[in-house]
Symmetry: D3
Subunit: 161 residues, 6 copies
């Protein structure tokens, strides 16, 4: 299953939308972080399963930053794409914007990098196809994903000392 590489565009989700509900708001009328995390995970999972062709589970969230708040009435626009893959894992990048659907204005809300692992029928990790980046942005994300992985490995070594 993993011989042939795939372009990020073959598995990307371009425009997952979520209209904010009253229950998603804290006392400052901004959206709970946990809701946004959950939407990032659910959207990225679809990308991971499309890319790998197998059920996937979340392995890590390495970096998820709130750039600005999402508010009552906003529509969240969630985009996700596979940045790079390794033997049985993939880094999925997620971008969340908050759109005021009345004016069309849109603000960047969250950037996140999640790692997923593909599972075979017996629940053990299974190989996934390599990513073949095509656009300049995809190539940059591919390279950055490699650096983030190096950093993670260094961090883990540091910890285990």
């Amino acid at each position: 299953m993993s011989e042939t590489s795939k372009a990020p565009s073959e598995s990307a989700v371009d425009q997952n939308v979520y209209k904010i509900f009253p229950n998603d708001l804290n006392s400052k009328y901004t959206v709970f972080g946990g809701l946004v995390m959950s939407l990032c995970d659910r959207t990225a999972l679809i990308v991971a399963e499309r890319h790998s062709g197998a059920p996937c589970v979340t392995a890590a969230v390495d970096s998820l930053h709130f750039v600005g708040p999402a508010r009552a009435g906003d529509t969240l626009i969630i985009r996700a794409a596979a940045n790079r893959s390794w033997r049985s894992s993939m880094e999925i990048g997620v971008h969340v914007a908050a759109e005021n659907s009345y004016t069309g204005e849109s603000r960047h809300v969250v950037s996140a990098y999640l790692t997923f692992v593909a599972l075979s029928d017996d629940g053990t990790p299974q190989p996934v196809p390599p990513i073949a980046p095509e656009t300049d942005a995809e190539k940059r994300r591919f390279k950055d994903a490699g650096q983030r992985r190096q950093q993670r490995i260094r961090d883990r070594k540091h910890k285990s000392k």
Copy 2:
């Protein structure tokens, strides 16, 4: 606000995704109709609010047909676009497919036509921009929406006799 017409592409949602959860399944392991209806309404609402630039409420579902079942493990792909508008109302067409994300196979699940009304600050209907269809498909949907409206008006007259 309503003088300038807008193309359907300015407000369309192309790829709202929803990974089916265990709670969405009935005893035959297919998805509850009510969940799909609710997703159609939530996605179409975003289109209506983008097109009108105002808060909108659902006025009617004139036709919502289940073409095939969605099952456990499927990802629902919901597309919605404004077909035509009248003084303060809009017909939004919705198409739902069930994708097997592992194989990439996709089946048509639901087609629906929903009507929304735009509201001003005091809660009364407010004018919305006309739709300017551009592609052939958009022009056909524009024309069909007009026929569906004629039929609705005939039905209502028939009823009130």
Copy 3:
């Protein structure tokens, strides 16, 4: 299972109640259309399963009209009854009212006609009992359901041309 006819009263739901929650409200403090659709589907499903004695799935919503808004604090009162059945399908009529439980005042909110199909153990459609309308209102609904079905068949022919 389908030999003996049944009266609508044998399967009707007379008073399903739903107290509106904060999360059910949009920015105009009226209830999301999707919630009402979902309640209509869930209530009508019970009627269809009572009438057919089998698991049922939603086949279509042919007409669902919002006559007026439901608001914060209201209690939704949902009534549903089988109007007519054909070989393996049934039309269920649903009426939703919004009750101000403090004053007892009640307003009509939604009328809807949903079609359900009964399924056998292997997931194929199975015959359902005929409807035997008894009251004048039941007889009128039985007749109207037949006309709606004729219209649907004409619409489908028109489309496939």
Copy 4:
């Protein structure tokens, strides 16, 4: 508001229905107690608000007994009625049955007695109308509610000693 007495039938909910969802089931495929408690509270609240004509809050659950389990596929049928009222509080009796909608068979699942208090605009308790029981069953429930209240007062005295 409280001068004129009201019959239990003026505020009763006769047939609130709830089709059990997958998420409502524990590992033994029976329904979580918390779901049933929550449905009892939501249904009884409507009765309390209808009877008192005011917003109400739950004051106590004095007795809620599971007579038998509700299972996957069952439809819960919830009935609630005001048994008796005091200055600003009411005892609401709730009966839950689990119906197999396919066969029509129905089993008793829960009996419960909940006490609600009616609140005025400033959030303090406000008087509620007396209950005027009409049928024999209503009269028996009225009398039993009085005994339960005596017992509660005895229990509280015993505790505070």
Copy 5:
């Protein structure tokens, strides 16, 4: 499994926390009783399953009293412990406080006694370990639980006469 007694501290939940969400609030901005009941049941269930080492189901809520309201912004702090066990049933005591996390102030909201039954693989009741109370408070709760059980048995006899 039931030979060796266990102390309440071996199964107690000391600090289950729940930050109140907008959807949990009624029109008086206090928390729905049904939510609190549901949290009591879910927390007590964990204690019952820890104590018995088996899946448990709710048998009864004998007494659940709202001492004061919980409001928007509060954090509910839920504590639960096994008070006493009989052959296959256990009384779990639950205490709910509402904490203003900003000031640290905490108010008592609910006290409740729930009875659970442990189930064997075939769904029949199975023996549970005896409770061995250690602290003075545990010993008092053990004794009170016995009196509440006597009262329940008297009530049931009275009813069946």
Copy 6:
């Protein structure tokens, strides 16, 4: 408000519990990552608000690793404590274990570091008290949090070049 330092123990949550529901499970019968992220956020938020005495919002998840899966029937045990604070932000460490409540066995599932910002009434960041670590573990976490913050600042500089 920020002059006096506080120990981590003054705001920590020691044992937030969550019994896994059917809807929380993917097709491999392990828990969705998004659910665990959401629980981490909700528990850490309480710690941040207790420590700062003010409403807080999530600023970042710097590292959230799934060490092992949580499965159907498990109880999640979530612990969270403030590791270190800066002018108006705090790092909260979260540890999630999956407990088999029947056997008492417990496995480490997730470790996460979340950053929260405290907000004043006008929605701008407000100062928070310093953390005064007391135990050896608290002192180590305090030191590590400083290193993670240095790394974050380096990463951000690197990015903006």
